[in-house]
């Protein structure tokens, strides 16, 4: 049996934390793109599109992320696609993130005064131009703090990827516990590393919120 020093534990957790960061970035970027598409779809104000996006958001906000991960993992397998855990995790987290971001951004777009839409209409701008030049730049202002804040939820959400076997920070913690029998120390360090990732993001979100004067 190999002896683990504290540094061995922390070093291995730090190495695994890279995967937490990578998975978070992939989910956040992918979720942002899909979320933007959902937002635009909703802003077309076609009844069917609005209902579909509403249902999509309700579906992902009303079910556990853990179940979404399982469904992605076993659903793709049921389709005959044997995908690795990281792919299922990235897919589920992307869809989950897109639903929340679409909803956050919808709130920000709704907060843009109706007169701005009318003014853009009066200038003869098309749908895409209205969004690109009038509405979205204004929504971006109030949308940045909650978007940054949601990144914290994404980072924390990646911890669930450990359950389907993706070796990120939490899974690495479990494996080190199994080797060292020091759950107290290891999980405390795991929590501390998540905190080190998330707390600066939380602070940044709050600083942005104060600067834009949203509250």
């Amino acid at each position: 049996m190999v002896d683990f020093t504290l540094w061995d534990i922390v070093r291995n957790l730090l190495l695994a934390a890279r995967w937490t960061v990578l998975l978070s970035l992939v989910a956040f970027a992918g979720g942002g793109l899909v979320g933007l598409a959902l937002l635009v779809l909703r802003l077309t104000r076609r009844p069917l599109a609005v209902r579909l996006v509403g249902g999509y958001v309700q579906l992902f906000q009303g079910t556990p992320l853990l179940m979404q991960l399982f469904l992605a993992y076993f659903g793709l397998a049921a389709l005959g696609l044997n995908v690795p855990a990281w792919f299922a995790a990235a897919l589920a987290l992307t869809l989950y993130t897109s639903a929340f971001l679409a909803e956050i951004w919808r709130g920000c777009v709704d907060a843009v005064p109706r007169g701005q839409w009318d003014a853009a209409d009066a200038l003869g701008l098309g749908f895409a131009q209205k969004l690109r030049y009038v509405v979205l730049p204004q929504a971006l202002r109030s949308g940045t703090p909650p978007t940054v804040g949601f990144l914290v939820q994404v980072v924390k959400g990646t911890a669930l990827a450990s359950v389907i076997g993706f070796i990120e920070l939490t899974k690495a913690g479990q494996m080190i516990v199994n080797a060292t029998f020091q759950p107290f120390v290891v999980y405390a360090w795991v929590a501390l590393l998540y905190f080190a990732l998330c707390f600066p993001i939380s602070l940044a979100s709050r600083a942005l919120e104060r600067r834009t004067g949203a509250h």
Binding site: M67, F70, F74, L81, K156, G173, V177, F184, Y194, S202
Partner: protein
């Protein structure tokens, strides 16, 4: 690609799913009651409590809000026994959910307290109410009413998060979904049925909370203040 689904193999085990859903609901009710109590006490402590208490409460809120629930759960269930605190899976799940919801509730209730017009406090004091009476009779009810939609959402989030508790063998809904799929190898169907049940629970829980809040917690008059 062929997809042959068999939901019958899962639905035949409905008594297990019902038992799991019952524990999920029970855990959520416990977390909601105790978490809300922590929320009120913590928000009071941060705003009017003794100075030595404010920093620890703020630290507790930040620590919980910036770490994943699954890590909090593992720390409580696997880590605390080294300090001599050994909990059953259900007790550890309940404790983790309470501690988690408590931190969010403190922030939510605090936001409601901050929105109290100063004049209401002055009016209460001028009626010779004690500061404690002013807090519980005048400031708190409308603060809870103002923030109730956010509180209800957070309780729903904690309920959905409790799906992780099956990982430490607390026999809630996701635990039984896992058990069923390990027996009949219908993983996708089992988790799809469980997911649908969670969705139904989330919708029902939100409705129940929006109904119960004004009736039992802060009174209908506070909701209009």
């Amino acid at each position: 690609m062929s997809l042959a689904l068999d939901f019958g193999a899962v639905l035949i085990d409905w008594p297990l799913l019902a038992r799991g859903a019952a524990l999920t609901v029970a855990l959520t009710v416990a977390a909601a009651l105790a978490g809300l109590a922590i929320g009120v006490a913590g928000a009071w402590a941060r705003q009017q409590g003794p100075l030595w208490l404010r920093a620890p409460v703020a630290a507790y809120v930040e620590l919980i809000r910036n770490t994943p629930f699954i890590v909090q759960l593992f720390f409580i269930f696997f880590g605390l026994p080294s300090l001599g605190l050994k909990l059953s899976p259900v007790a550890a799940s309940a404790l983790a959910m309470i501690v988690n919801l408590g931190a969010y509730a403190i922030e939510i209730v605090r936001g409601g307290l901050l929105a109290t017009p100063r004049g209401q406090v002055d009016a209460g004091l001028s009626l010779a109410l004690t500061p404690r009476q002013v807090f519980f009779l005048i400031v708190l009810p409308p603060a809870l009413a103002r923030t109730w939609p956010a509180t209800a959402s957070q309780i729903v989030i904690v309920m959905l998060g409790s799906a992780v508790c099956g990982q430490i063998a607390a026999e809630e809904l996701s635990y039984y979904a896992n058990l069923i799929q390990s027996r009949n190898f219908r993983a996708f169907e089992a988790y799809l049925v469980a997911t649908a049940l969670y969705l139904a629970l989330a919708v029902a829980l939100r409705r129940a909370l929006m109904w119960a809040g004004p009736r039992f917690l802060f009174g209908r008059s506070a909701a209009q203040r």
